[in-house]
Symmetry: D3
Subunit: 254 residues, 6 copies
């Protein structure tokens, strides 16, 4: 039984943590991740990062948002791929808004939304803005972050030792996500099925989407040279970085 997950706590145990504790809400998706990774990659990565941050800062973790906003062709493959089960923007924003409203009503002062699906961010930020735009007090405070913006730039050289880094937008089902999955859930990685995709996204978006603007596998870039070790390097670095700014932003209160 993992006592960091609020779903495993009774309401009395949960209530005891709300006043001073840190609540982490992982946000993922159900989305294609190439030939070699499963649909749950973003949810699995978000959940695992959240648990490690919770351990580090003494927080608890809410149920993961397993359905997210729409996958985009140039950063996730888009809606033409089977298994990409996305929410409309209004729905996803309402979902986040309702959940936040409820947690705030329970007295949480320090909430962190840990996102692992890039396309979620504009709509999570919209939800947060709708609730907390007018700063009545410094707290309650909701922070929103992801893992890729919290990797030390110096680390990139270690991760992209064999393959050139071409920007985070292409890291869908590529080296970083594959390495993280090899570290967090190796049994779900079929590295033998990955192919050396190297997709050049267009400089514009097209509606309706057509196939020639998409990679055939669903990966946006090669996963070659991925490893659990690289996954661990990323995790250690990101957990450290996130814990550090959580501590800073949340310290004004306690």
């Amino acid at each position: 039984m993992n006592a960091y997950l609020i779903q495993n706590l009774t309401w009395k145990e949960y209530q005891a943590k709300a006043k001073d504790g840190i609540l982490i809400i992982p946000a993922g998706s159900t989305e294609q991740h190439g030939f070699h990774l499963p649909l749950g990659v973003d949810a699995i990565i978000a959940s695992n990062f959240a648990l490690r941050v919770a351990e580090k800062v003494g927080g608890v973790v809410a149920p993961t948002l397993t359905y997210g906003y729409k996958s985009q062709p140039s950063s996730g493959g888009g809606p033409l791929f089977p298994g990409t089960i996305d929410l409309n923007g209004a729905t996803f924003t309402s979902l986040v808004k309702d959940i936040l409203t409820e947690f705030l009503a329970d007295g949480w002062q320090k909430i962190f939304i840990l996102d692992a699906h890039y396309e979620n961010e504009a709509f999570i930020a919209e939800a947060c803005d709708l609730i907390l735009r007018n700063p009545k007090n410094a707290f309650p405070k909701v922070l929103l972050g992801n893992w890729w913006d919290n990797i030390d730039p110096d680390l990139l050289a270690k991760i992209f030792d064999e393959v050139e880094f071409r920007g985070w937008a292409l890291e869908h089902a590529a080296i970083t996500e594959t390495s993280l999955m090899m570290y967090f859930a190796p049994e779900l990685v079929h590295q033998e099925l990955s192919i050396d995709e190297s997709f050049n996204p267009p400089t514009y978006q097209c509606f309706p989407l057509h196939d020639s603007l998409l990679p055939s596998s669903g990966s946006l870039y090669t996963a070659r040279s991925s490893s659990a070790d690289k996954g661990k390097i990323i995790v250690d670095n990101v957990v450290e970085k996130i814990s550090s700014f959580l501590t800073k932003e949340f310290s004004e209160l306690s």
Copy 2:
């Protein structure tokens, strides 16, 4: 790795099942369940039932809806309890509608929503109606059911051998849910903390809610005489019953 969960499948594996397979979507909640059960009871019960039905009928299971519609005082304890994290009706309906729309777009013809949180049903039905009201064809077909309506009435005597059955509305955190949890996830049951609640719900609803219309523990009825054995009896019976009507309703197609 559980291969019944679509989050563990690649998009190619998932795609192969969509045409003829059965998709089961478990719907739960994050809600107080008395002193002795955790917040995740409904989600855990829904997920476990879904897996067993999937095994039986050869289906797969979508990510569980872990946040649901609002807990009601007379069947779940209501919003005054900490840890009850509920969605507004419009949000929950949109959530179900978007997900169903995406699964139908992927070609699924046979979908079953397995609910374990009573209050969800009106809003899930609304979502289904908004999508599938006008019967163009017999398929795609979406069925919606729960576990309590699919228990053989004869079985009630076995389950309520020490305690009188007072209706399903009161079975929140009581014998049946406690027994199911003792069977599915015994490590999450703190039977020693349960108390002998026997709540008489009013014949009306009151807004705003006040404490005198609520049980203090959050349980609506006693959990005394619960057991993993009773949990197993329920599970075996319900899985049989659900599998049976899924087979009947979905057989017209294949």
Copy 3:
């Protein structure tokens, strides 16, 4: 001229009652009710109960909600029947929310919504919750109730003297509604057209709906043995019960 109906009052007369009075809002539907009852059954029953409760407790009655939420197959026959004119959930919730907001702005402290269409309740409760979730004060207070939950269980034996009681869900266009109509509006009852329906609803819902899950007449159960006398028995009992809890819940204020 019925002076219990606010539609018959000038704004000055209305204003004089708002501060201390009780306002009753009847909620019905426009829905098929078998071969022998008219589409307006729920609205007619709600309006008549409301008037009698108003007389008893000294309240006034708002215009009846004559269009309601969607009829369900297992408790009302559903959308396949002509004459069933239903609102979407979001619309019905907004309708109730707007009306309540306006009455509260006029200063009413004691409001009772008297429902006679089962399917309305989840969406009326949603509207009330959206307005009054956070209890600033004990008042204004909105109560929501129906007639069937307020019948004395002992009375059932008298009503179901010839026919077995099979649960309220089946009482659509059956003995209780027919008896109430024979008492309230006998000229609208075509008892000679009623047939001995005995519908076994499925243990699940199906979308799109198909005919084999529906009774052919639209009644869910027999209306045999209905009578105006039985109608009167129900009315007397329910008006007494409702008046009693209105007095209790609303007494804290005046």
Copy 4:
């Protein structure tokens, strides 16, 4: 029993009329109408006009929309008056849209919405446009009209024999509405309470509204010289005119 009202019909009787018949939906409001008229004026006038038109053209009448869009200060008195119970624009549009959608699904080809509350019209038209903008066929066809635009201009001299006609916007609780009420429901008219209001509305709107932009009684103009005879003159003329264009617009089909 009034057999022109669909609420009094069984679903079989209703169904028989849908294919070729004309359905009339009266739209009113719950709104202050000065010292001498009740809150229900618009609903009562709409219902009565609808019944007479139905008799004339052989149609049936749906339940009246008794709550309407917001009363405006310069044509109805506005929200500061008690007893003015208004819907938001989005709600009222959804209400009309849902009802129309249901009636169209039942097969009605010829629908007339008869409005007696000026402020309703923009939002009813919006609902109709959202459903029927793209003309697939000439039918189904929905017409929207009111009584004042269908009075013969020559008749105005007879009605305004003692008092000058100052435009329809000021005819709120004034001569025409008072005369119609004296004809339709004389027991609800307290002519002795009416005062000689003569309101000069501003050439702009102001938010928030302030008292100096409003008449104190709620009437916008005098009701002096009203009479049941004038009411009858209006009714005869309007029913004739409406029946005439209904026949013309709906004749293309049958």
Copy 5:
């Protein structure tokens, strides 16, 4: 560089005006205006009036709303004409609501919405009502007006010297709008293309719209006898009238 337009100001310049200044928001449309006038007529007229009022009262002008609510057949020609690009009611109301909310958050106390597209008004008023219904204070105050309600009645004789005035609803692409355009933007007027339309609008609305209820040119009435001189007469008069009531309504504060 026009310093009356806020789009030309830096945020520091803008901020300096918010506390005591008057903000004018012009509301137009993109809509057909007959054979001789361009799609932008309403936006151009609104913008030009706004600038002149701003000069007169010392205010500033926000970016014009160039897309408006739906053109109606009897006052603007309606949706069947190409180039009529309209917003749904809910969208237009949200647009106005969001913009007003932001301006109010910046501290503006005196806002005037100057409309030049009749159909906009119900939906702008709805937006204002949703924000400012409950009068907490006299300020902030939002006024809503147009140019036609602010023309001195005596002036009509001068403008309609050759042609009879048949009501404002028909003044779409007719004498007044043509004259205003000849004054504000003569290079956009193709007077040689105008035809002598004289449209008799029906006394009801019809959905779906059919051609026989529309003028062929899109003008609702003749533009004959239009002139820049008449345009100037209107402008001088309206700017005077609007400035006068702005001064009166806004003077209570400063």
Copy 6:
């Protein structure tokens, strides 16, 4: 009179272009742009780019969206700055959806949305997806692009000759926008007021926003070394690039 702007065309002129022409919709914002640039920067840049692309490809330009989605702290300064007048996500998406729906109904097959406000893109894409997700045909086709993704990477060295390029997110009111304004509308640039801002955005977002996460001027990076010449270089390059992909994507049809 600029004949590339549809607001200057009559409906007959407009209609003649819809069948084969290209329609360009510029999307901007009303947002602070530092001490030296006006609130209208994004709208002005979008409009000017649109006109030049229209000249090049023979298209026309719709009225600019002058109010956009919310400015974000790390790419635009955010809501704490006066003059930042933003729409909620749902509003902006509806606005784009309604306009596109209308243009498509007028027969346009080739539409390009040219964005100059980064934060708009997720919500414009959402609108396009809601309308055109299911590819019935290759056309109508809507493309969405901006100017910064269409700058030749080789050009960056010329523009950032004195100052290091630190990513597009920081180019708010910095060298590229200032240079574009010096080229398009030099009279609106107060270069003397610009200061050498060099903002380090946090790796997370914070709600409510606090000042220490913001640059004081509103610029995110220095505008030093900006020039009209650099503006021209960008414009020439971007217009070429955009025209090129418009021609390619739209050529399949004509």
